[in-house]
Symmetry: C2
Subunit: 273 residues, 2 copies
């Protein structure tokens, strides 16, 4: 059997993780990518720990079966609720989005106070709060359940989205605004960066967990590299493989917006629970 080409598996409940994939591709990591979007069961952000863990474990197993030699959990909710279980079950290294995001936020904050915007499930888990507390940072977490549907509606720069985001940001920063970092704890939010930049208090640094995760993967691969490629193989890197549990047509259409690149082929996957 031919040696398998090195592949990184990227998992998300839907499309948001494509912002992480986009950042990974930008780092030219000498690997192919397998992207799994569990679009039949999205969103995870409003679901319970048990349900999210069960869904995530199945998807990660699938990615390993398809040859992933490193798993990136490009979904804040799945990282928050199930990273421990995924890492315990996996036979390859696993990188989540929370620790890298917290690391970058801690490095960027002088006031030692950070505001985190995320989904309901991520906030309920207090995963960012814990990761930031371990770095001596006080976090104020704010659940923003409307931002994902607004992004998926394509209203990334719409006045309604601006008002909704303003309500969330005002509530998160409160009156005594001492936080100097706004951490985007959901992989849908990078699409709202220009808008959030506009409405966030001045002098606040935006930290994006998609970017941070890609940087963490690059660092991890420096220490523990994937198999080397021949020159011939390198010329065809990266091949992108997409898997989705719901409509592949919709994945192509909506996915292109997140990846900022056309998506040609998507394979439909039926996960038996």
């Amino acid at each position: 059997m031919a040696m398998r080409r090195p592949a990184i598996g990227v998992f998300d409940s839907g499309f948001g993780g494509l912002t992480v994939l986009k950042e990974l591709i930008g780092h030219s990591l000498d690997a192919d990518y397998l992207y799994f979007g569990d679009t039949a069961r999205l969103p995870y952000g409003s679901k319970s720990t048990e349900t999210v863990s069960r869904f995530a474990l199945g998807a990660c197993q699938y990615l390993e079966d398809r040859g992933a030699q490193l798993l990136v959990i490009a979904c804040n909710t799945a990282t928050a609720l199930a990273l421990g279980q995924i890492s315990a079950a996996a036979h390859v290294p696993v990188v989540g989005v929370i620790e890298p995001g917290a690391e970058c936020a801690a490095a960027a904050s002088r006031s030692r106070k950070v505001v985190v915007l995320a989904t309901e499930a991520t906030v309920s888990s207090h995963a960012y709060q814990k990761a930031l507390a371990a770095r001596g940072i006080e976090a104020r977490e704010k659940a923003c359940p409307l931002l994902v549907p607004l992004v998926e509606e394509g209203w990334v720069d719409h006045p309604i989205t601006e008002q909704v985001a303003q309500i969330y940001v005002d509530q998160a920063f409160g009156e005594r605004n001492e936080a100097d970092v706004l951490l985007l704890g959901c992989t849908h939010y990078p699409l709202l960066k220009p808008l959030l930049r506009r409405i966030a208090p001045r002098d606040v640094t935006l930290v994006d967990s998609a970017e941070s995760a890609a940087t963490a993967v690059r660092k991890k691969l420096k220490l523990d590299p994937l198999p080397r490629l021949s020159e011939a193989e390198r010329r065809s890197i990266p091949r992108l493989n997409f898997f989705a549990t719901d409509s592949v047509e919709k994945f192509r259409r909506l996915g292109a917006m997140f990846l900022c690149h056309r998506i040609d082929h998507v394979e439909h996957v039926d996960l038996k629970e």
Copy 2:
């Protein structure tokens, strides 16, 4: 074995179908209710026909196994995409929400023009358009993907929701406004009735598919009644049984808003696909 008490099974992807259950209870139908919310996999509104059919068939089978003698598909998306398949697979009568809604809208319209607000999947199926065309009514369908998350955020009377609904309603009615009925083609929308009443063009009649479905069930049971109850049994009618595939705590909390009544016990169900 004791005779089973008559039971009506009500199925929805989540909480919206509770607006149908609420209307059914209002009709005093001499039956218990089994309500199934597929909350682990909601929303259906943005998913494909194959996925929705598969999910709905499993849930309806479950309700039959638990003793449902009539099935109400209290989910517009599942009715639009899978009513035929559900009816073919079921061993008991099945009532959807689309035909009753179209029937009421047709009865209410003088201009023979109706606007339908619904989810993306319901609109893509054109199920309302077809059902209305069969009654000589011209339908303009409008997908409103943000209304469900806004309702679930609890913003049923919020200025943001009003602006979003106004955008949708304006787009749906257009400039040459001849429609005289606004059909609410999603079981979440009854919670927005006061707001929609306020912003819809004057002289437009609101028709709610939850109410229409409950009326259709009552009519069906007049023709084909469930087993009679003893006087003793009638005194304990209706018992309500709730089943959910995601967190039961969340179901109790959010469900109470839709049912306008406290929900005490919810049983967690794991559907193997």
